[in-house]
């Protein structure tokens, strides 16, 4: 019997006013005030009934001309998109204070806000700016945040996501992931002439950048733990090969182009090894570890069936993977050394595949066959209990946000691949639809400043 997320601990336990989940149809177009390059439109298909009411007042701009960026609009959109906040419409604001001292608490209380964000965009030298903002509890006047965030013209968008992260964390207790990125595969063109693109974008879908393109399939993108590189599979040579690509320079290395399958790359937590799937000459589809320093290969599994989709445990000592050795695909775990015996972890249902580890290492997200439909589930590694989170028919490729609060996955909408997110407690659902072809295989980046990264 599947526990359908009702007993899940509330991700928002520390937030006030969060109640039972119901349908809430809100359509939000992102970046309406910014450059017209929004690739993904985000629609909140389901949220909480009682999201936190908050007013994000337009930021002050004392210099000449129009402000270079609408910080408040981006912050309000990020918060709305989380499904946990209800930012006040700008036209309903009776006053536009730009500092805490100007905030008339009684006015904002009358307008039924719990919190108000006020701030200014201050020009500094040249193309430099400082975002100054305060977060105020309207009910008691307490100043919860008082912060200065420097930025350049080019980084104003990212800095604004950072402002949203800080507010989100202050009010929910969960680290915000608005300033992280996603990678995904987009496929365009008719069946006879497909064009596969590997895209990296901001977590809200803005700033899409094509990092690889091919008329042959591209698949299985995976972020390095430091967020600097992506490993992926390309069929550009008429057979599969695994590449790693440094995002900053575009420098690409062909890591594995052995006979047969070269698939499912997964970086070890230290970033020095890739677990991957090879079939080699014997045609046996098994899990190997490829050492990126010296290109040595260690075979982890040796089974006549399909062993694939490896992912590392947080300590790098074990690898979780999919195997059909018992008849249909199920999740197994094996020590990351040669010749170890694998242990089966999933027993509910006939199809459980593609494990991905939560950032805290305690849960796996998987694809499960749930009453005739392929859906996203999470497996608690302490007791192997499974909870189904989604309601689609062909859901696939789940990936945890680095804060562990949300998963992004691929689903179908009118025969087209689109991206969607679901909170790990199953309550908040969002859909990201692209005007460009089929979108699939989303993967969420680690936090900037993760181990090994040169910092945020």
């Amino acid at each position: 019997m599947l526990n359908r997320a009702r007993n899940a601990p509330l991700a928002m336990a520390r937030a006030r006013r969060v109640a039972a989940a119901t349908l809430m149809a809100l359509a939000v177009t992102l970046g309406a005030g910014g450059p017209a390059r929004a690739e993904l439109t985000i629609e909140i298909t389901q949220g909480v009934t009682d999201p936190i009411p908050i007013a994000v007042v337009p930021f002050g701009w004392q210099s000449v001309g129009a402000p270079p960026f609408d910080v408040a609009e981006l912050v309000a959109n990020d918060l709305r998109r989380s499904g946990l906040f209800r930012p006040m419409e700008r036209r309903d604001m009776v006053d536009l204070p730009t500092s805490g001292a100007e905030v008339q608490l009684e006015d904002w209380r009358m307008l039924r806000n719990d919190f108000v964000v006020v701030g200014r965009l201050e020009p500094a030298d040249g193309d430099r700016y400082t975002i100054v903002f305060e977060l105020i509890n309207v009910l008691n006047g307490q100043k919860l945040l008082d912060y200065r965030q420097p930025a350049s013209g080019r980084t104003l968008r990212g800095a604004s996501h950072r402002v949203a992260d800080l507010i989100f964390e202050k009010l929910t207790g969960i680290r915000g992931a608005f300033s992280t990125r996603i990678a995904y595969v987009a496929v365009e063109g008719p069946e006879t002439k497909r064009n596969y693109k590997l895209v990296v974008a901001d977590a809200d879908g803005e700033n899409p950048r094509i990092i690889a393109q091919s008329v042959e399939p591209l698949m299985s993108p995976a972020w390095s733990p430091d967020g600097q590189s992506i490993a992926y599979v390309s069929f550009e040579g008429k057979a599969s090969a695994i590449y790693t690509q440094l995002l900053r320079t575009g420098e690409r290395v062909r890591v594995s182009a052995r006979a047969g399958i070269n698939g499912a790359p997964a970086w070890s937590p230290d970033g020095k090894r890739l677990a991957l799937t090879l079939s080699r000459k014997d045609g046996n589809v098994d899990i190997y570890v490829h050492n990126l320093t010296d290109a040595t290969l260690t075979r982890l599994t040796d089974d006549g069936g399909i062993d694939t989709e490896p992912v590392w445990s947080a300590d790098g000592k074990n690898v979780y993977f999919t195997s059909d050795r018992s008849g249909g695909p199920q999740i197994y775990r094996v020590a990351a050394q040669a010749g170890q015996r694998a242990q089966r972890l999933t027993f509910e249902g006939s199809y459980n595949a593609r494990p991905r580890l939560s950032p805290d290492g305690t849960q796996l997200s998987i694809v499960t066959l749930d009453r005739g439909a392929y859906r996203i589930a999470v497996v608690d590694l302490k007791n192997n209990a499974m909870r189904v989170l989604t309601q689609g028919r062909l859901d696939e490729s789940p990936s945890f946000a680095p804060n562990g609060a949300v998963l992004i996955y691929g689903t179908q909408d009118k025969g087209r691949g689109v991206l969607a997110t679901v909170s790990v407690d199953g309550r908040v659902h969002e859909r990201l639809a692209s005007p460009l072809g089929d979108i699939r295989e989303p993967v969420w980046s680690p936090f900037p400043g993760s181990p090994g990264s040169p910092g945020s």
Partner: protein, 174 residues
């Protein structure tokens, strides 16, 4: 879940080649398979005619050689006995003309996870490869590649399309 099918026409060795999990073998009703004849792949002209010793071929053999797609059941890499004639014809063709090479492209339907489907497509291609080798094709004449669900033959999210997509295509000339 996996349904094993016993070969009616091929030898026991060939049946083993298609059934890596011999303990799993059980008789199942003949599945509904899309007709292999008349598919686009089957009608395309490749190097077969030039490479084959057409003089010794019967009409039936030529017809079998024109069929170049083997279809599979869901989540299965067992070759259905209905493809025995097709496999025998291609194996003999390869055995007779060792300069000819084929590339076996394994595919799956869109259901489930993508890398698992790459594995499944590879297993399907390998099953066809083993069957060809057991009937005389040379090791170096047959290579495999799996595209998983990445290259469907037919768009659509219903069984009719899925059945067309669970396949191995025999492509002459590599």
């Amino acid at each position: 879940m996996r349904k094993s099918l016993v070969f009616a026409l091929l030898s026991a060795t060939l049946a083993l080649a298609g059934c890596p999990k011999g303990d799993d073998v059980k008789e199942t009703p003949q599945p509904e398979q899309p007709a292999a004849t008349g598919t686009q792949e089957g009608l395309e002209s490749t190097g077969v005619e030039e490479g084959a010793q057409t003089g010794g071929q019967t009409e039936a053999q030529r017809a079998a050689l024109a069929q170049r797609v083997v279809y599979f059941e869901f989540d299965s890499y067992e070759i259905s006995p209905q493809y025995a004639t097709l496999i025998t014809a291609h194996a003999q063709n390869l055995a007779q003309t060792t300069a000819v090479k084929v590339r076996l492209e394994g595919h799956t339907d869109e259901r489930g996870s993508r890398e698992y489907n790459i594995g499944l497509g590879e297993k399907r291609a390998q099953a066809v490869r083993r069957a060809l080798l057991l009937q005389g094709a040379g090791d170096g004449q047959v290579i495999t590649v799996s595209y998983g669900e990445e290259r469907p033959a037919q768009a659509g999210s219903e069984e009719a399309a899925w059945a067309k997509n669970r396949r191995v295509e025999i492509v002459y000339g590599q």
